[in-house]
Amino acid sequence: MKKYWVQTLAGISMCALLAGGCTNKGVKKEDALASGVTSESSDAEIARAAKAKADAEARLREEAEAKKRAAAEAKPVEIVPATDVTDSRREALNSAIAPVTIGNLFETVYFDYDKSELRQDSRDVLAKNAEKILKSYADAKIIVEGHCDERGSAEYNLALGERRAKAAQKYLTTLNVKAANLSIVSYGKEKPAVSGNDEAAWAKNRRAELAVIK
């Protein structure tokens, strides 16, 4: 759209330029007549010819540029699709860059809808988890994963899941788990624990899980 206008404007200004040139010529001629000069000087003629030539060249240049712009615009982007990766290769690739975790070692903490405050039962579960960490995983790196139910937007749930993970992380540190060993990640509603579209399923999906990083 912008380019199109630029082209149109360029066209208009070119016309204006040419029209202006014509008017100037007219004025010059009148001036010459008024001053009693009957024959045009060859200098003026040469200058006019040179100007006409320059104008024509400028117009050609402008046209060529407009054509070039149009060609560049018309040229489609050649899309290179993602290459196929075998499952084993992908596993190797991903394990090289993404941390591998061991889940199912700790109890899951649950939350109320659209909330990240810890309920009393959640605090109790976290206290049990903290005890287990201090006893058996005192030096392990532990990641707290925050999750949401399927309701609401995917993006808002990413932020909400992070709040839940943070709430659990903070409580664990108050129970003497080393802050340096704890990290968090939010999966929003991307990794539900159970499928289903009712409160029973939603309640199981609004959660924070603890996992040990290998």
Binding site: M1, Q7, E73, E78, P81, A82, L93, N94, I97
Partner: protein, 426 residues
Amino acid sequence: MKLLCLLFFLLILPVTLSAQSGAIEVTAPGNRFLKLAVDAPRCTDALANPATAKLAVDVLVNDMNMSGLFSAEGRATPAASREQLLADFNYTPWVTAGFDMLVKGEYSLKSGGLTVEYRLYDIINRKMVTAQRYHGSTKDIRRFSHQFADEILRVITGEKGIFTTKIAYVASHTGNKEIYVMDWDGGNPLPLTKNGSINMNPDFSPDGRDVIFSSYKRGNPDMYRRSLSNSSETLISNRKGLNITGNWSPDGGSIALALSKDGDAEIYTIDREGGHPVRLTKSPALDLYPAWSPDGKRIAFVSDRLGKPQIFIMNSDGSGVKRLTTSGNYNVNPRWSPKGDKIVFSRLSGSGFNIITISPDGSGESQLTADGNNENPSWSGDGRFICFSSKRGGGDGIYVMRADGSGQMKVSQSKGKYFQPVWSRR
């Protein structure tokens, strides 16, 4: 015959070149759609391929019907004599049949290539309006029809159509959430990622050559940039916590996004390489999903600073925050129209998510969808259309509609779950 063809092109091509840009006056009485016939292109050599010709017509007819300006129908080639293609082309049958405009064309499949020429005729004023020739291979036939559709819009409205633009989106039929790109009408779907992880929220650079997205492929939701013409990905933001909901600035120089490195999700801008982070919001609430205004001076975003997610607008330096949405208690996914006059978003209510447009001053709210769950709207580059994801009775997928909500059409072609479509600017 060859001489005739040559003569034909000699006659037609200068007309094409002299066709000046600008809107032409084509008014249909009673403000109805212009009636357009799209004639099957005629093969000029012995290698006729009816399937190619049919596809050419179908694609063009679909584009024209979606435009909101035409009521288009494909027509089998009438048993016309050769002469009717030439300068003395007979308009009368088309006038009698009640058409305002007609697209005719020719194609040739010589030596493995495809050459197509389309011509648009104004039936009422009995003149050719524009003509274009395209060279390529048979796989380009869809693109050629889209290109001529863009050209038709250009001569009718003064603004080129968007039918050659792309929609990027997320789909999960592989079991993972991968990013894909397709033509606006669902043609030519291609995967942009195949990393087996969760990939989210693609957004095109303004020149349509790069896509940013967030991915868990390294464990954390980090942001990547991928050129469409090169399958390698560049990590541009792996700051601690969330690196999500990126939106490219209109000048392409910076990216607004949500980062949680300093606590909870806040809006920042970074440059296209991910450097020079500038924090724009400072609130104990969640701030995310920034959306630039087309002049780059303002940013709309989602915040739950008043309890529930609502849409706010601020200056692009973070000053002058104002609440935009005052109805509904869950408004998300803002996107600013390319002309700047509207903001589209989705609202969650008892009946699910619906797409709504509103003026940037908060007036003139208009609900565009009513069926099922409709999320993540995105404008076409000319502001005439909106794409969005929908779960509805008529089938889940990526849908496209006109900016007034009319003409809702599913464009994704395979079954499965689709998310977060985004329309390329060009």
